[in-house]
Symmetry: C2
C-alpha cells in the first residue's frame, strides 16, 4: 500500500506485526551513493519524519533503519518501530524469533493518515 509519493520518492507500508514503512526512490538506483543529492535528501528527510512520528505515536522502545536491497537491488530504506514485546526484539526483524508478539499498539490508520499529511507539508 502506497501512503505517499512525489516526483522523487514513494512510501509503502510493509505488512508486519510492527509499524514498518519502506521509502523507495521513484527512479531505481542500486546504491544510496548513486542517487543525486536531492533524492538522498528526500529519502533521509522522509526517514527522519517517519521516525519522529513513530516515536510520538507508538512510543516504541527503539526505531530501526535498514537499507539492504540484496534480493531487490534497488534503493529502499526500512523504518521500523520496535517494541520489547515484538516477536524479534532485541534482534533485528530479520533475526531469530524470540517470542509470540504481545505488544499493545494504537491503531495504524490514524497514524498513516497524519503522516501522509505531514509528508505533503514536508515537500
Amino acid at each position: 500500500m502506497t501512503i505517499f509519493e512525489n516526483s522523487l520518492i514513494f512510501v509503502e507500508l510493509h505488512d508486519s506485526e510492527i509499524p514498518w514503512l519502506k521509502i523507495f526512490t521513484k527512479e531505481p538506483y542500486k546504491e544510496l551513493s548513486e542517487c543525486d543529492m536531492a533524492i538522498r535528501k528526500a529519502l533521509f528527510d522522509t526517514a527522519l519524519l517517519i521516525e519522529q512520528e513513530m516515536l510520538i505515536y507508538f512510543q516504541p522502545e527503539k526505531i530501526n533503519w535498514a537499507s539492504f536491497g540484496n534480493m531487490l537491488p534497488r534503493v529502499h530504506i526500512h523504518i521500523q518501530a520496535r517494541f520489547k514485546e515484538d516477536s524479534y526484539f532485541p534482534e533485528p526483524m530479520w533475526g531469530v524469533k524470540q517470542r509470540e508478539f504481545a505488544a499493545q499498539l494504537p491503531p495504524l490508520a490514524p497514524f498513516l493518515e497524519s503522516l501522509a499529511q505531514k509528508m505533503h507539508k514536508l515537500f
Copy 2:
C-alpha cells in the same frame, strides 16, 4: 579498532568475515532524529564515503546499511560490503546462515589506511 575520529563521530571496524564498519556519534544519542544536523550530516557523509570506497575497492554485490541499537541504545550506523559468496547473502548479516564463507577479498589493511586518509580530507 577505531580507524577514524573527530569531534562529532568515530568509525570502528567490526570483527567479521566481510568488510563491516560502524559509525558512532561521539556524544551518545538514542535515535538518529535526536542528533543535531551537523552530527547527522557527519554520519551520513561518512556512510556515503565508506560505501563509495567499499564499492571501488571490494567490488561487492551490494552495500548494506543498518542502524538498530536495540541492544546498545546508542546511535550507530553499520556499513557492510556484501558478496554472493558470504555466509548470509542475500539475507542480512543478522539472518539465517546460508553457506560457508567463500568470497575472495583483497586485503583489508590498505583499504582502511586509504579510507582514513579520505575521511581526514572529508572533515
